[in-house]
Symmetry: C2
Subunit: 274 residues, 2 copies
């Protein structure tokens, strides 16, 4: 049963949330005090756990058909137990966030509630789901930065993360549209078509390029930052934007989405070198 | 054609090699001199590019059947051109490595030649392929550390990386055995069976646990390191080792392999906190 609860939490997701906050804190000002940075990362991991559990809770009917091996769909965990587990981890997240001060507590509560509504309603609406996920990721940067008392330095990374994730989320919607259509979800490409979705993704990536140039132009970030984004990040964005129009097969879009994921890390490196 | 050469290089792989060396340098002693760290990362990216190109060069017959969309199999790039591209990037890698001093030059040349032989022969032999890949990854840590003049601090990370990757490579062989069998490759599970392979993986993970405890016992690494590996790394290793015996389906092993990939990042975090 503990293994089933572990699987229900989606550990890969949870670990990524944890690492995002650690990286955010390190980027903003370094991991001191280390306890704060790690507590903030634990809060993010707990909120992600709760969000993943409540997601499966609301998706149980769909999962019984498409993912019958998931702990709730398979009946290894009862719905009641999942709900209790969700409440417990959210409560723990809020309790720990409280020790980090009022601003972080409020961010944690806001994001948790938003992620709850994501599963409850938002993800079945056009774009709102994508915006929620991108916003939550962006806030992870503010959260990590805030935990080590460097809110200001976290602003640019959070802004970049928001648009970068938004573009990638749209790409993933195009990639998954067939399965989503069968599930009855209405995502952007299903409502407005592939071309309009890819156009929006391209516009979002143009916004990423413009935004990431600003701190260099303002001389807040260094030449190393500028060179790294110019050599490492922009060519990949241009490549993805062009290629996605030429080849829409799910396999190829999956490959482009992976490319973006690694490119995001190069972006983080650029900020680290700022 | 430039896009075809870009695809032939396998950019995701190349970016990961680049980032591994940057992380290795940062872990060993910090990114100073930054130029050295970035040049070392570029060398790693070039060697990886060459290794990926020569891999497709030797796999062209298999790819024509299984991956007809790859640039060489599709005939977008000629074999002769791929060979020239391979020689060019290897030559560039060695030239840049030369500026980093004799030890790094020798490491770069050794690893390049080893990766060439990997495609030419080793990957069709039992375990030698896995050992080559794990060794190359471990050497990336020495290479990154050496570039910023911190060879000694890179030793433990390199050692951990070697065994961690080895365990994961064996898991991936079990996952891919069906496809590998059709391709005529003889991997560990195809020669000795799934059970013996998983047993070897479990033993390798036990070695990882023992090795990673040593720097804490020797008081080289701190309590933060110890807590992070105890909470973040070991439970995942135990989980993967147990679950892989219970469920051998390729999908589930793919999930476990992903879990290990993220767990590797937690391991890097632990070393960072040392």
């Amino acid at each position: 049963m503990f293994i089933a609860l572990f699987k229900l939490s989606r550990p890969v997701n949870v670990l990524i949330a944890f690492l995002t906050v650690v990286i955010a804190a390190e980027l903003a000002g370094g991991l001191t005090p280390l306890t704060n940075a790690l507590l903030a990362a634990i809060v993010a991991a707990l909120i992600t756990t709760g969000a993943n559990v409540i997601n499966d809770y609301y998706d149980i009917a769909i999962d019984r058909v498409n993912k019958p091996y998931r702990p709730l769909a398979a009946g290894v965990i009862s719905q009641n137990m999942a709900l209790n587990y969700f409440i417990l981890v959210y409560f723990m997240a809020w309790a720990i966030a409280w020790t980090l001060g009022l601003p972080l507590f409020l961010i944690a509560v806001t994001i948790s509630i938003l992620l709850f509504f994501y599963s409850y309603k938002l993800k079945r609406t056009v774009l709102a789901g994508n915006l929620t996920v991108s916003f939550a990721t962006a806030m992870a940067f503010i959260f990590g930065g805030g935990a080590v008392f460097h809110y200001k330095q976290a602003l640019f990374p959070a802004l970049f993360a928001f648009f970068f994730h938004l573009g990638r989320e749209i790409l993933k919607d195009v990639q998954d549209q067939e399965g989503d259509g069968q599930d009855g979800a209405i995502t952007l490409p299903l409502k407005y078509g592939i071309k309009k979705s890819l156009l929006l993704m391209t516009i979002v990536f143009i916004i990423v390029v413009i935004l990431t140039l600003i701190p260099y132009i303002l001389e807040v970030y260094s030449l190393w930052y500028f060179l790294t984004v110019c050599i490492g990040v922009y060519p990949v964005l241009v490549f993805v934007a062009f290629q996605s129009w030429k080849n829409n097969s799910p396999e190829y879009l999956g490959y482009l989405s992976n490319l973006l994921k690694v490119d995001m890390l190069i972006g983080l490196l650029a900020i680290y070198l700022r």
